[in-house]
C-alpha cells in the first residue's frame, strides 16, 4: 500500500487513519521515502526534519490509540511555505537575509494545525519574501513544475503547489498577496484558495504587503482545500485585521447549480492563450448546462489593477522590510563599523535583486513629491476597483475568469523583464485589492500543462466558491491529478 499513499486525498487518508487501516507513521514514512527520491528533481522543499515529522506522527498515532484523536486532520501531513512561522523550524522566506533564522514561536495557523492533530511537515520553497510569480527569486534553490521540469511552477508559493503536484504531501499552506496561491495552483494543476481578507490570522506570517497578504489552503481537490480551510479560519486577537468570532458569519453555499455566474467583459480576450480560453470557456459551458445563470458583467477599471497593486504592494513592502536592519535578527554584515553602515551593508548583502527592486520602487512611490501622484492615487484606484467588484457581486454570486492568461513558461524566459512577469497576475490581483475570496480550480490542459479557472466571490462567500468548485470537480477528472515523475 505504501507505494500508492501519495496518490490519496487528505479526506481518504483521514478515513483510513480513522478506520485503523493506516498509521500516521506509515504515511509519513512513505512520503519521506518519496521525498528522498523526488525532491532533488522538483525542488519543492527547502527543509525536512525527518525525525521531527516521525515524532509528530508517533504522537498522533498514540492520541488516536487512546481515543483522543483531534478531528479530520489528525495524523495528516501539511507542508508549510517558508514565510509562515513554526516554532523550532527554519523561517527563511527563501532569503539570504533570514538564512539562519529558526522561528522562536508558532504562527496562529501552526497553532491551529497542531490543535487539529496535523503533522507540520517541512518547509516549502518560495520567491524571496513572496515577491515573484515563478519561484525563480528564491535564494535557496530552483523549483520546477512537476508537469514539465523545464518550466516554472508559478509563484510565489511555487513549492506549495509543486509539492502537491508531485505527490510529496497531501496538503500545503501558501500565502497570497497578488495571486501567490492561485497562480502556482493553476500552473501545477492543483486547487488553491485565497480567503477573504481577515478570515485567517496573519500572526506569524512574515509581512510583505499587510493590507493584501492572506494565508490560504492548497490541495489536490476542492474537498481537501475546504478541509484545511476549516482548520485555519478562526478569530485571533493578535491580528487585529482578523475577524472576531461574531464577525465571521460565512455566507451559506446554497445550491451550486443555481449560482449566478458573471463573466467580466473582455477578460477572455487579449493576452489570453487560445488553449486557456478554450478550457475556461468549456468550464463556463459546463456551469450553464448545469443550470447556472451565466451573464456578462462590466468591470471598467480592471486595467488599473496591475499598476494599483504594484504601487500599494511595493509601498507596504518598503515599509515592512525596513525591519531588516541587521540588529535584532537576520543577516548582519561583517563589513561595518557604524550602525548606518551595518544596516546598509546587511540589507545590500542579504536581499536579492527582486526584493531590492521592490523596496526601491516602494520608496519612490512614497517619497516626498511623488506620494500624491502615485501612492495616494493608487489608494483611490483601489477604492474604485473594490466598489466595482462589490457592485458586480451584488448582481451575481461569483465571477469566473482564467486564473493566469498563459500556461507555465520556461525557467528563465521572463527573468530579465520584471514588468512582463508582473502581468502574470492580471486576473488574481483584484481579489487582493478588494479583500475578496478567490479560488483556482484545474479545468484542463494546454498541451501537457495544466490550466485553471478562477472564481471570485463577495466577502465571506468561501462556501459558494467551494461549492461551485466541487460541482465542476465532481464531473471532471482533474481532482487528485499528479504529474508522472
Amino acid at each position: 500500500m505504501a507505494e500508492t499513499l501519495h496518490t490519496l486525498s487528505a479526506a481518504e487518508l483521514g478515513r483510513r487513519l480513522t478506520a485503523g487501516a493506516l498509521t500516521s507513521r506509515a504515511l509519513c514514512e512513505a512520503l519521506i521515502a518519496r521525498y528522498d527520491v523526488l525532491n532533488e528533481k522538483v525542488g519543492a522543499f527547502t527543509h525536512l526534519d525527518r525525525a521531527n515529522v516521525l515524532a509528530q506522527a508517533d504522537a498522533s498515532d498514540a492520541r488516536r490509540q487512546a481515543g483522543q484523536g483531534r478531528g479530520p486532520l489528525e495524523g495528516i501531513p501539511v507542508a508549510i511555505k517558508d514565510n509562515i512561522a513554526v516554532k523550532g523550524q527554519p523561517l527563511t522566506c527563501s532569503s539570504k537575509m533570514l538564512a539562519s533564522l529558526v522561528s522562536p514561536y508558532d504562527s496562529h495557523v501552526a497553532e491551529r494545525l497542531r490543535a487539529a492533530g496535523a503533522i507540520l511537515y517541512g518547509r516549502l520553497n518560495m520567491d524571496e519574501f513572496a515577491m515573484g510569480s515563478s519561484t525563480e527569486n528564491s535564494a535557496v534553490r530552483k523549483t520546477f513544475n512537476p508537469w514539465d521540469l523545464t518550466r516554472i511552477p508559478g509563484g510565489s508559493s511555487g513549492g506549495s503547489a509543486a509539492a502537491l503536484a508531485a505527490g510529496l504531501v497531501p496538503l500545503s499552506l501558501g500565502s497570497d498577496t497578488g495571486g501567490s496561491i492561485r497562480q502556482p495552483a493553476s500552473h501545477c494543476g492543483v486547487v488553491g484558495l485565497k480567503p477573504t481578507y481577515g478570515l485567517v490570522s496573519r500572526f506569524g506570517l512574515v509581512a510583505f504587503a499587510s493590507s493584501l497578504d492572506q494565508i490560504g489552503p492548497m490541495a489536490r481537490s476542492v474537498e481537501d482545500c475546504e478541509l484545511l480551510l476549516a482548520a485555519l479560519a478562526s478569530a485571533d486577537a493578535r491580528d487585529m485585521t482578523c475577524f472576531s468570532s461574531d464577525e465571521r458569519a460565512l455566507t451559506a453555499a446554497g445550491e451550486a447549480k443555481k449560482l449566478r455566474i458573471g463573466i467580466p467583459k473582455g477578460f477572455l480576450g487579449k493576452g489570453v492563450a487560445p488553449e486557456v480560453a478554450a478550457a475556461v470557456n468549456a468550464a463556463i459551458e459546463f456551469y450553464r448546462a448545469q443550470g447556472c445563470a451565466v451573464s456578462e458583467v462590466e468591470l471598467p477599471s480592471a486595467d488599473l489593477a496591475v499598476p494599483t497593486y504594484y504601487v500599494v504592494a511595493t509601498a507596504e513592502a518598503s515599509s515592512n522590510l525596513g525591519r531588516y536592519d541587521g540588529v535584532r535578527y537576520g543577516h548582519r554584515s561583517a563589513q561595518a563599523s557604524t550602525p548606518v553602515e551595518m544596516m546598509t551593508n546587511s540589507r545590500s548583502e542579504g536581499f536579492g535583486a527582486e526584493v531590492k527592486r521592490r523596496i526601491l520602487l516602494g520608496t519612490f512611490v512614497l517619497s516626498a513629491g511623488y506620494a500624491d501622484a502615485y501612492y495616494n492615487r493608487a489608494l483611490r484606484a483601489r477604492a474604485k476597483i473594490r466598489a466595482e467588484y462589490l457592485a458586480a457581486l451584488s448582481q451575481v454570486d461569483v465571477l469566473l475568469t482564467p486564473t493566469v492568461p498563459t500556461p507555465a513558461f520556461k525557467v528563465g524566459e521572463k527573468a530579465a523583464d520584471p514588468l512582463q512577469l508582473y502581468l502574470e497576475d492580471i486576473f488574481t490581483i483584484p481579489a487582493n485589492l478588494a479583500g475578496l475570496p478567490a479560488l483556482s480550480v484545474p479545468c484542463g490542459q494546454s498541451g501537457h500543462l495544466p490550466v485553471g479557472f478562477h472564481l471570485v466571490g463577495a466577502p465571506l462567500s468561501e462556501a459558494k466558491l467551494l461549492a461551485a468548485g466541487r460541482l465542476f470537480e465532481a464531473a471532471h477528472g482533474f481532482a487528485h491529478q499528479q504529474a508522472a515523475l
Partner: protein, 96 residues
C-alpha cells in the same frame, strides 16, 4: 511623472548600497515600471479612499502589555549579543 527619479537618493532612503551596474539596471527597469503606472495618472478616480479599506476601522488594540518572547529567545536569534543584550557597532563616539 518619472522625471526627477534619482536612483542614488532612492538607494540612500532604502538603505541599500548599489553597484554602478545595479544602478543602471534598476534605473532602466524602474522607469519602465513607473511608465506603466501612468494609467493611474490618466484615470478618473474617486476623491475618497474609504472604499479602499479592506481593514476594519476598529483595527487597533488597547495599548496593554501582553506575553512576549523572553530575553533568552530574543538574543538567541540576534546576530550578536552580550550579557543578555543585543550588541551593535558603537552608536555614540566617545570623542563627541
Amino acid at each position: 511623472m518619472a522625471e526627477g527619479f534619482d536612483i542614488d537618493h532612492l538607494a540612500k532612503l532604502s538603505r541599500l548600497s548599489l553597484t554602478p551596474e545595479e544602478k543602471a539596471l534598476y534605473s532602466s527597469q524602474l522607469n519602465s515600471i513607473i511608465g506603466h503606472f501612468q494609467a493611474l495618472a490618466q484615470a478618473d478616480l474617486p476623491t475618497s479612499i474609504d472604499d479602499a479599506r479592506v481593514v476594519r476601522e476598529s483595527a487597533l488594540r488597547s495599548d496593554v502589555p501582553g506575553p512576549s518572547l523572553g530575553a533568552e529567545a530574543v538574543t538567541r536569534i540576534a546576530p550578536a549579543s552580550r550579557d543578555g543584550q543585543i550588541s551593535v557597532p558603537r552608536v555614540v563616539d566617545d570623542e563627541a
